[in-house]
């Protein structure tokens, strides 16, 4: 099948694999919250009714039960037993409903901001998270790797100064560094805002005032993620680079009298491949760490949305957030996988020789 198009076959195979992973992730997302003593049904019962008259509470409760696919539904109406009480769906039916809802893009309704849909809350938060994380991870990766490769190639004084610096940076936990930056640059020396994504008196609009405020609020969170990430990548690249420097092909390239820049390019490109793989593997941790940074800066992204949800036991919201995060990590991983396939001929050659992906 598709033998003559190894590239398409490669992409399809990876896509299939990730789709399967996605299904597993959805399953986990469904079952894990049901592990503990607090069954979502009970929580909904408890949450929905508070502060309402009994009839209103019952209606709202049933609406919830229906929205979350926890009861049997026929022709848009809840199936009721003899006493008029809703008939609960089995776990498997609930799961089926959950999957159906996921694919239709319906992540349920938030408890806390009722009747706002979870998806709508997430839609507001995601652009902030993307705006913060995508550039930081990309820049951090590039800057870290370039400096790391230089340190490996040049060694000497540059390396002696650079290496300990990068080592210390990379050892900082995200949240610790975030807190220190807030304390130093927002509290001790109030040069930058301590929290938020923009000044609270502004409307979200493409106005100059808003954009400049957003940029001003962007600086501290950006650096708190960027520096740590770049440090960690630089350390990894440095050791990969030193390893590659000792390989036969680098020695041969040198003996042929290739220009220094060319040799450095050989080195960088080949040492970079395991670094990309490493990036793929650590994306989950990275995004997680960055989300906590968001919480520290009260940045209006997914991290903050999730924190609020956790504080209010807003389960649909928590589940929605975790699902979105998982999906983005999977998409990012898929992209990186395909990228490696194109950059490293050995991966595709392995595929052609029938070793699979």
């Amino acid at each position: 099948m598709l033998k003559q198009y190894p590239t398409i076959r490669f992409i399809l195979m990876r896509a299939g694999w990730y789709f399967m992973t996605f299904l597993v992730a959805v399953t986990i997302n469904f079952y894990l919250p049901r592990l503990g003593k607090n069954n979502p049904v009970d929580i909904i019962m408890g949450k929905a009714g508070s502060g309402l008259s009994s009839e209103d509470a019952r209606q709202k409760e049933e609406k919830y039960l229906q929205e979350f696919g926890l009861v049997k539904v026929k022709d848009g109406e809840i199936v009721r037993n003899a006493e008029g009480k809703p008939v609960m769906a089995s776990k498997l039916e609930q799961f089926g409903n959950y999957i159906k809802m996921c694919f239709m893009g319906d992540l349920g309704t938030s408890f806390q901001t009722y009747p706002k849909k979870v998806l709508d809350v997430i839609k507001e938060a995601v652009p902030w998270t993307i705006a913060l994380q995508l550039p930081t991870i990309l820049f951090g990766w590039i800057v870290g790797n370039v400096l790391g490769a230089l340190a490996a190639y040049r060694r000497g004084v540059f390396d002696k100064v650079f290496f300990p610096f990068a080592l210390i940076l990379s050892a900082f936990p995200f949240f610790v560094f975030g807190m220190l930056l807030v304390y130093i640059f927002a509290v001790l020396f109030p040069w930058f805002p301590a929290m938020g994504g923009y000044a609270t008196n502004l409307e979200i609009a493409p106005s100059l005032a808003f954009l400049s405020s957003a940029a001003y609020h962007y600086i501290l969170p950006f650096f708190s993620i960027f520096l740590i990430l770049a440090g960690g990548q630089a350390i990894g690249m440095r050791s990969m680079g030193i390893y590659e420097l000792g390989t036969d092909y680098i020695r041969y390239a040198k003996s042929l009298g290739l220009k220094e820049g060319k040799v450095l390019m050989y080195l960088f490109r080949n040492a970079m491949l395991p670094q990309i793989t490493g990036l793929a593997l650590s994306l989950g941790t990275m995004i997680g760490g960055a989300l906590i940074t968001e919480m520290i800066f009260s940045y209006p992204g997914l991290g903050m949305a999730m924190l609020t949800a956790i504080q209010n036991s807003d389960y649909p919201m928590i589940q929605g957030c975790t699902l979105i995060i998982t999906v983005s990590v999977l998409i990012a991983n898929f992209t990186v996988d395909i990228l490696i396939g194109f950059l490293d001929p050995r991966v595709k050659a392995g595929l052609q020789m029938g070793k699979g992906a």
């Binding site: 036969d248 041969y252 040198k254 042929l256 009298g257 080949n270 490293d344 001929p345 050659a349």
Partner: protein, 323 residues
């Protein structure tokens, strides 16, 4: 006039603890245009270190101790690395490495590696010209040029890789080629194919002077005009291929020949004898003859006295007792 002269060349490695390992000591020889010199010896005798020294390529921890290397009368010593890179490597002296599989950048196509070499040394040639020249050159090798050039190293067979490496090393018609065990990892059939290819290039005048390093003496008999035998960093005997192979004078050369086997008729019941023992540790200072420990005709004197090269029957031998 000699095209390649090596004058009392000594090289050392510097270990992490500041210790000097004298891997090559006092190597001298000169080569005429068109000469093929074979260098043979056991593993660890300094052959591969010598290769770097002969190219003026000193990558730490390898350093020159003393002596000189001259190509066409021009010294390679005391130059900046950039000068050596731009004016010596690939053009004057080029190396064919052992183990072609690891020598080619795994993520680069053969044609791109070759183009990099040209771009590093030729000014004002555009890409198209480079590929034209490349194609012409690789056509000489009797391979499927288009496929080989457009392949990544992993897609080639061992023989194709070795031939590509030879093609790349000789791309700029170097005055001097140093082949460092180019066939040691190959089976006998592929070995012959590769040697044939080298001879083809010689015949077509791509290059004319070569040093061929190997631990297989019988092979050198067919490849080289002259043979130098190395032991523990020194040349112990040097003469024409016939002299060294059929009439060795140094005890070490004799022992090496005695250890050889062959499938020739009548050879079956000749008993080869191995050389017992191991070469001396080059980190230590050695006063006497370096082969004394393993020499069958050792005497009290040569354990103490450093042996110098002397002329015995038209060849150089580093042994006072050789006849």
């Amino acid at each position: 006039m000699a095209i390649f002269e090596v004058d009392k060349l000594s090289l050392h490695y510097l270990t992490r603890f500041g210790q000097k390992i004298h891997a090559v000591t006092d190597v001298s020889f000169s080569m005429e245009q068109g000469e093929i010199l074979g260098i043979a010896g056991e593993s660890g005798c300094g052959k591969s270190t010598l290769v770097n020294g002969l190219m003026g390529l000193f990558i730490p921890p390898l350093y020159p101790t003393s002596g000189d290397v001259r190509v066409g009368g021009e010294s390679l010593m005391g130059r900046t690395p950039e000068d050596v890179r731009a004016s010596v490597l690939s053009r004057k002296v080029s190396m064919i490495p052992q183990g072609a599989f690891n020598a080619l950048n795994p993520t680069r196509k053969v044609k791109d590696i070759a183009a990099d070499v040209m771009a590093a040394h030729l000014k004002g040639v555009d890409k198209k010209q480079i590929y034209e020249r490349l194609k012409d050159r690789f056509d000489l090798f009797g391979m499927d040029t288009k496929r080989v050039l457009n392949s990544h190293p992993i897609q080639l067979t061992a023989g194709e890789r070795q031939r590509s490496v030879i093609g790349i090393s000789t791309l700029l018609n170097p005055q001097m080629v140093i082949a460092d065990e180019p066939t040691s990892a190959l089976d006998v059939t592929t070995q012959k194919v590769v040697i044939k290819m080298i001879f083809d290039l010689l015949e077509k005048g791509i290059f004319s002077t070569m040093i061929f390093i190997t631990h297989e003496l019988p092979l050198l008999r067919h490849v080289a005009n002259n043979i130098a035998i190395m032991y523990a960093g020194e040349i112990v005997e040097k003469g024409t291929a016939e002299q060294v192979v059929f009439d060795p004078r140094h005890p070490y050369t004799k022992a090496l020949m005695g250890a050889m086997l062959s499938a020739e008729p009548g050879q079956k019941h000749r008993k080869p004898t191995a050389i017992e023992g191991a070469p001396p540790n080059l980190a230590n200072a050695i006063t006497g003859c370096r082969f004394a420990e393993r020499c069958p005709s050792v005497c009290a004197e040569c354990k103490q006295k450093k042996q110098e090269i002397r002329i015995v029957g038209e060849r150089q031998v580093r042994c006072d007792y050789a006849k």
